[in-house]
Symmetry: C2
Subunit: 344 residues, 2 copies
């Protein structure tokens, strides 16, 4: 059993973890382990939105973006996902990860800044949402090793089983900064507009979660149980957050299906959501009826199937400082992503 | 909105609460408020058990006990409840509360110590389970004011709405000692026997919860929903704790129906359970499938009925120091109460 926080990021705690050292979680989970030379990573969400009848116009820009990811200083890992947002717009988000901000900066200035910096020829909207958190400011959790997702794909590997999970507060306890900092939010995001480009002026300690499911390996019976018993609760909770999340501090939620690099469907989905604070995410997760329903359904599922379950679950959670955020939107409808944070 | 910990018990925190000062719970709850002169209280559980065919033999001792409660220095409040335990024994527990330990000591030496100290004439078993916690070591929570239960019946009244509830960890945050102490358990309880009397040698930071429901005021429709949708999940979880609780650190659980002083049924029930530690209670509550099911059912119930719900809920939770505990059992079967803690 290992501590979730690696040795090189441990510090003298002024804020105790929620569980003691003799706590034993009831089932195994794992975290991504990075080389100690990694000090800051980049998580970049490049989105494109179009009315359904215009989805074809996303193909060209997406092919260009895929090609750009292959350019020098490109991301160590990227993937792409699709959903239809609450306003009925088809939205494709390409998510790219770097573990060297200098490399990202070089790539971005040559290949990435045009995504929202320049007007597209086609009738589409584009957005760029970037976090570049210090390694003290995020955590990962995986139900199984061997198939990293998201930022974990840049890690050297996985931990052994970690202690800090399977209780409420584990997410916070896995973030190294929580050893000394409550990570309280300060300020509120604001939207500025200039020449058709909208930027979000961020607030301190914004929170992002990407939380995924992978049923690739599940047999028909397990897949049927997942889609009949778990997924409807998950979808309902995700819809609630997308529609009414502001009431709980959730600025936006995207519940997306991962697509292959050729646009074909896969056996993976995830949600990504922007939160006012880690606290707000904790409170919704722990006690909102919609998440209690998801948690209950997932627990029944895992209790029924037991250790034989092939469903893979993972998440990554980041609490970003004010200067670790960048949000740009062009031609997007006003309910897109962090634009909603302005509280129109 | 008030802090759950009263001003006179506040101290400089070395352990932060789980929520910040700007946290707003999604629904109201209240705590009992005691006069600041109260420094220690006494919670005394006087139990009697009999095989079902011998239940009649409990009547005499119970009448004597009721009379004794009326003697000088008697409890400020008491009630009585009944259940059939896992071994099939009818068990009646009379629970008495004092807010002046000196008064209790006088009463107990004259009127209470004989309950287990002396052999009963009838074929019954008796037990005495007493905690006398400092006010820093327990907390209460009520869904509505106006009808105190348990130790709260000795309080001067109720708080206004308190902040520290409706999130996991609120229970701990409401216990004043949590401001500076993890309340970790140390040692293990042991059972000693002498002349037919078994005593439990306690361990430090044992935890007791009494958690109750009162459907007296509910109309037929609400009562039906409670008994069809919530109570079965509650019963199932309580049965699990009674049968297999040791796997989660629960020594014993009694899910009981409150009876009137004449033995007649009432519209109230509660569970009381003995735990290795507050941590163990937290972990079961937060993530065991049986409690997740209870929590989910209760949440659906309260969400459906809304603020019009007439069901009253309350609990009291104590973390007792080693010298604040007393356990005595006479003629009881070996699965009675804290006798189970010896891990036969």
């Amino acid at each position: 059993m290992e501590d979730a926080i690696p040795e090189h990021l441990k510090t003298v705690r002024t804020r105790p973890a929620r569980v003691r050292e003799d706590y034993e979680p009831p089932y195994p989970s794992f975290v991504a382990r990075y080389d100690s030379s990694v000090r800051k990573v980049v998580m970049a969400y490049f989105g494109i939105q179009a009315r359904p009848e215009n989805e074809g116009h996303t193909v060209g820009p997406l092919a260009q973006l895929s090609a750009a990811f292959d350019a020098p200083d490109g991301p160590g890992h990227w993937d792409r996902a699709r959903y239809v947002d609450g306003a009925g717009f088809v939205t494709l988000v390409s998510i790219a990860y770097w573990d060297d901000p200098a490399s990202f900066d070089r790539w971005f200035s040559r290949n990435g800044s045009g995504w929202t910096g320049e007007e597209k020829a086609a009738p589409v909207g584009t957005f760029t949402e970037i976090l570049r958190p210090a390694v003290e400011r995020y955590e990962t959790l995986f139900s199984a090793t061997g198939r990293p997702e998201g930022i974990a794909a840049l890690a050297g590997g996985f931990s052994d089983m970690v202690r800090e999970h399977a209780y409420w507060g584990g997410m916070r306890d896995r973030i190294p900064l929580s050893q000394t900092d409550a990570m309280a939010p300060s300020g509120s995001p604001a939207v500025s507009e200039s020449g058709g480009l909208r930027r979000v002026v961020p607030h301190h300690n914004l929170c992002l979660i990407r939380s995924g499911q992978d049923w690739t390996d599940a047999d028909d019976e397990e897949r049927q149980m997942y889609f009949e018993d778990v997924e409807p609760a998950l979808r309902s909770g995700m819809d609630f957050l997308a529609r009414e999340g502001m009431s709980c501090g959730c600025f936006d939620n995207r519940y997306m299906m991962v697509v292959g690099k050729d646009g074909s469907p896969t056996g993976k989905s995830f949600a990504m959501s922007w939160w006012k604070s880690l606290d707000a995410l904790e409170r919704w997760s722990e006690s909102h009826p919609t998440h209690v329903a998801i948690f209950g359904a997932a627990m029944r599922y895992l209790t029924t199937i037991g250790p034989a379950a092939k469903l893979r679950l993972y998440h990554e959670v980041t609490v970003a400082a004010e200067d670790e955020q960048f949000f740009e939107y062009r031609n997007c409808h006003p309910d897109t992503g962090m634009l909603r944070s302005s509280g129109r």
